[in-house]
């Protein structure tokens, strides 16, 4: 792995599209960290849930990740759906 040409490693990492895989690659070593980090934070999604909003805020507040974000996707999530934690659940 150490002797792999960086161009080849870059081409392999570019084919990884799952964000969780990219995040794991980042943790492997410094070379893969440098290659995977821009791709891992290129597109970020947030939802109308406490957990999701908090996570997005952390990423956007940290300058090193904020400057990598090229695409933001907001996805509405219905209250009561499996992933929703109730931020927009009616409290009246």
């Amino acid at each position: 792995m150490v002797y792999f040409p960086p161009e080849l490693l870059g081409a392999v990492v570019a084919e990884v599209h799952s964000q969780s895989d990219l995040l794991q690659l980042r943790a492997t070593n410094s070379t893969l960290n440098a290659l995977a980090t821009p791709l891992a934070f290129r597109s970020i999604q947030f939802r109308n849930t406490d957990k999701s909003l908090e996570r997005f805020k952390r990423l956007a507040q940290y300058p090193k990740t904020a400057e990598l974000i090229r695409e933001v996707v907001y996805q509405y999530e219905e209250a009561g759906s499996s992933k929703c934690d109730g931020r927009f659940v009616d409290r009246t």
């Binding site: 597109s43 109308n48 909003l53 908090e54 956007a60 933001v72 509405y76 927009f88």
Partner: protein, 303 residues
């Protein structure tokens, strides 16, 4: 104010503060180019509210929060290239005409507006009612646009989204329309023809010809615009078109929809009309000729 009900109730029962705080962060991201806003999970019917009658559906409340925030925020440094408004409930909204929103749209090269199904809470979103508003003003469609997508979840007019009869986009190369009706008035047809010098791709999914644009009236088919005339007109005008997709049975995702015919009686009720074999055959012949012109152009590029 057309959105007065929102002003009274918009955050009643909901905590929008955390959401708005995140929006503020979005608008300061230094490298942000693409923004996708999916206002609903899907285009299915709106669920009836089990709370008070005054409550608006939460997805509509959030849609309002987003537009209000964009319209009131004056100083964001964004230079967006692409904006997608997905599952958008077409409601009149003064913030969409505000200078900050017009500035936000002014740098776009790709703009996609996908409207969702009507919401019973707002009768003006019902496609059976004559439209009394336009979502965007002429200025919202920037001269920088290269790609424009207007997709509807039910048959609606294009002019409800923006006054396309007054717009010329000098760089427009890609146009995709879905469930957008054509008519004798020819606003959509003229809009497409007007971009004949730049359009290289045209996609029409489930776009019917409305024989009448008057509520609850059906005009005799023999006095209305025919697809054969439209195809002949576009064949003459679209001089650089290299990719043509026309689907009468499937939407842009490939899902089958047999509820929209080639001709419908009027643009509100959208009952399918059979104009007769001769008309259909003439349409098919004109379309094949149009398709042949496009194919010869794309093959000339490949060879």
């Amino acid at each position: 104010m057309k959105d007065a009900p929102f002003r009274e109730n918009n955050v009643r029962g909901y905590d929008g503060n955390a959401f708005v705080e995140v929006l503020a962060h979005v608008l300061t991201l230094p490298a942000l180019e693409d923004l996708v806003l999916k206002f609903r999970a899907d285009d299915g019917p709106f669920k009836p509210s089990n709370a008070h009658d005054r409550d608006n559906p939460p997805e509509v409340v959030i849609q309002f929060l987003i537009f209000r925030f964009l319209g009131e925020k004056q100083d964001y440094p964004l230079r967006l290239k692409s904006l997608t408004l997905d599952h958008l409930l077409p409601l009149p909204h003064p913030y969409l005409e505000s200078p900050p929103v017009i500035r936000l749209l002014s740098t776009l090269t790709h703009f996609a507006i996908n409207t969702t199904s009507p919401c019973p809470k707002f009768s003006i979103t019902d496609p059976q009612s004559p439209p009394t508003f336009q979502l965007f003003k002429k200025e919202a469609l920037s001269s920088s646009l290269v790609s424009l997508q207007l997709h509807h979840a039910c048959v609606r007019s294009a002019t409800m989204v923006a006054p396309i009869s007054k717009v010329h986009l000098p760089r427009l190369a890609y146009l995709s329309l879905q469930r957008t009706y054509f008519s004798e008035q020819g606003e959509v047809e003229q809009f497409i023809a007007r971009h004949g010098g730049t359009l290289v791709e045209l996609k029409l999914f489930l776009c019917p010809m409305a024989l009448s644009t008057w509520t609850n009236t059906s005009r005799r088919p023999d006095s209305s615009r025919r697809w054969a005339e439209v195809w002949g007109h576009l064949d003459g005008e679209l001089r650089v078109l290299k990719n043509l997709v026309v689907s009468e049975r499937h939407d842009s995702t490939g899902a089958e929809d047999v509820g929209v015919g080639r001709y419908v009686d009027n643009c509100y009720s959208c009952n399918i009309v059979d104009p007769g074999k001769e008309v259909m055959a003439a349409d098919d012949t004109a379309f094949k000729q149009f398709q042949k012109s496009v194919e010869s152009r794309s093959q000339a590029v490949c060879s």
